[in-house]
Symmetry: C2
Subunit: 374 residues, 2 copies
């Protein structure tokens, strides 16, 4: 069982938690899914780069970064160059065992350089798993096509609702079901703020609390102006509805101190104000919108308190299906990367196993006990 | 692309809808999953049996059954004998392309003869998909082991929450996550009745309405005495928590006209009474219970109206994850069988494809466009 070789592009909180989570799950991943890993490259924004063909001690490096140390010297060229260099040195790319773990932060202008990282990885024979919403929100169609051409996977379960399966749910467990739309509450910071403002807290205090807890984005506009929700909506619509949206082509209204007053007034009328993300087909067009909506109290989305998230899918065949996330945090986001890695691991090891056998699936034969004898 | 050969054991409403749904989904199943099918055997309880090596016109036979016609002559021996005879005649069993679609109704005494049907199918080289809760509720461990030995699949997504993925969700999309417990509302009839009784309807009228709609089981005790919920709880606990429960070892309290009065009283206090199914680990033991519980109004389960169902999983790694079913019906249950069939189809065709190639996964090579040139 050869290990998967991982290159981490981005080494912030999510990647650091990913590294420790990989250690915590080492045994079940190897035993149940045949997935073992070696981290050979780490590219950071402000703490240099590290490469080690035999594997880096990423847990120690993460510890060091938390104390302000660098993982290595500042590198020449971009992170995409770093990916190229490692892919050129390693046999793992040819063996379909090189995986780039992309965790840079969302750049709401154009989704770069994350899109470049994904493109380069695929072109160099690496699979990519990312927690960054940008690639699926800005360039899903092109990247999905590039992945098919490269015979590699481009996965991004962590882009929406952290580790709660959304994309995997539809892809793996709902075959032949085509969602025709969805609505959801997908931004934790604004949902917490609306709940807090209903209870009398000020806009500024509620936002400050979320920032202190590390939940809110460093740039508050990403949350309160609805950009994060719009990026998630674009990713969901592009992947599930076949849309070609970007966060900029989505109708978007965020929350302000005045929204807090509306939330209080709604609550008094037995209703709840939520920042709702929605998309659906209207004839040939996909329309998508993010904005505050007043919901009846018995609406599933109305009951989401604090940081809870949910997405309700509309399907023709099965009616509505809702998935609700009731706990959120770094571990959940890091787990999404692990789940995507396992998806890749299962496929690669299954393909290798079949190739080794090089014969049709097992033949129990009719003479087995229990069939003929009764 | 060879077709899968299907043998239908049980030909009631669910199987009849399965047959038409297969037709409706013929194109996406073939195009997207490489799954084509041929129904060669049908065994019914009161309408005889049919076998046709080249495929039966199951849609017409279903139409006939609805008008009281038989599908064929009454057969000799049991349905398990019928499965054995077909497996012996067909090359599909050896090719891992024989699938028994088991839709007999739950026998709450001991889960038979459905368990026999599953055992025989696996022993004869057939995969089994079933919508019957009995096999997983009474004999999961033995049947799962038999499936491993036979190198065939035993799948039962339709046993809980119809076509909404529960078992597949945990198995396919939450690798290395071990649920430590769950609670849910899993019986549509009693949830509808509780909602109706809150609004002033009588127990008898509410039950009669569910029976008239074909939602309630023919034997009302299965619903109102909590047996259906207990069977689902056993199946969930056995599969997800590794328990060895049966519906009879689960603490169980159903609903009565008096429960309706409790529901009305609870509602007046801003609370909701629901028939809650729950299981969890207590030390080394798994405890499980079905019974009415008063829930706070903001509890996700409290908000389930009418026939809605939900299961909330508790996990150490990800906290709570809830899946909510908002539309229920025959189509959903029939879809669960289709989804399980696709799971089998994906595996078999992937294994065949890999065996044909008999070489390691594709090698994009480093000279591809986009990797080196930038």
């Amino acid at each position: 069982m050869k290990p998967f070789e991982l290159v981490l592009v981005g080494f912030g909180h999510v990647a650091q938690r990913f590294v420790t989570l990989l250690e915590e799950l080492r045994e079940p991943l190897a035993r149940d899914y045949g997935v073992t890993t070696r981290i050979t490259g780490i590219a950071t924004r402000r703490h240099g780069r590290a490469y080690g063909a035999r594997g880096l001690d990423a847990v120690s490096l993460a510890e060091g970064v938390r104390h302000g140390e660098a993982v290595g010297r500042a590198g020449d060229g971009s992170s995409s160059d770093f990916i190229r260099q490692i892919a050129a040195k390693s046999a793992a790319a040819e063996e379909s065992r090189l995986v780039v773990v992309e965790t840079t932060t969302l750049e709401i202008g154009d989704g770069q350089p994350a899109i470049d990282h994904v493109q380069t990885s695929l072109a160099c024979g690496a699979h990519v798993v990312t927690a960054n919403k940008g690639p699926a929100a800005f360039a899903y169609r092109a990247l999905a096509a590039a992945a098919v051409r490269a015979e590699r996977r481009f996965l991004f379960e962590g882009a929406v609702m952290d580790g709660i399966p959304i994309f995997n749910l539809v892809r793996e467990t709902l075959p032949a079901v085509t969602p025709i739309g969805f609505r959801g509450v997908v931004n934790s910071t604004t949902n917490y703020m609306l709940t807090a403002m209903e209870a009398g807290q000020s806009f500024g205090d509620a936002l400050a609390e979320m920032q202190a807890m590390g939940v809110a984005e460093a740039d508050a506009s990403l949350d309160v102006d609805g950009w994060d929700a719009a990026a998630k909506t674009a990713a969901l619509a592009n992947v599930l509805l076949g849309a070609s949206l970007t966060p900029h082509t989505i109708e978007r209204e965020g929350i302000t101190p005045a929204t807090g007053l509306r939330a209080v007034a709604a609550r008094k009328m037995g209703r709840r104000l939520k920042l709702v993300a929605r998309a659906g087909r209207e004839g040939d067009r996909i329309t998508a919108r993010v904005g505050p909506e007043e919901l009846a109290e018995d609406d599933l989305l109305a009951g989401l308190e604090g940081q809870q998230n949910a997405v309700v899918f509309h399907t023709e065949l099965l009616g509505e299906i809702a998935v609700v996330q009731r706990g959120a945090g770094l571990t959940q986001t890091a787990y999404a990367l692990v789940a995507d890695l396992v998806t890749i691991g299962r496929e690669v090891t299954a393909a290798e196993r079949s190739a080794r056998r090089a014969r049709p699936p097992a033949r129990p034969g009719r003479s087995r006990g229990g069939c003929g004898r009764r």
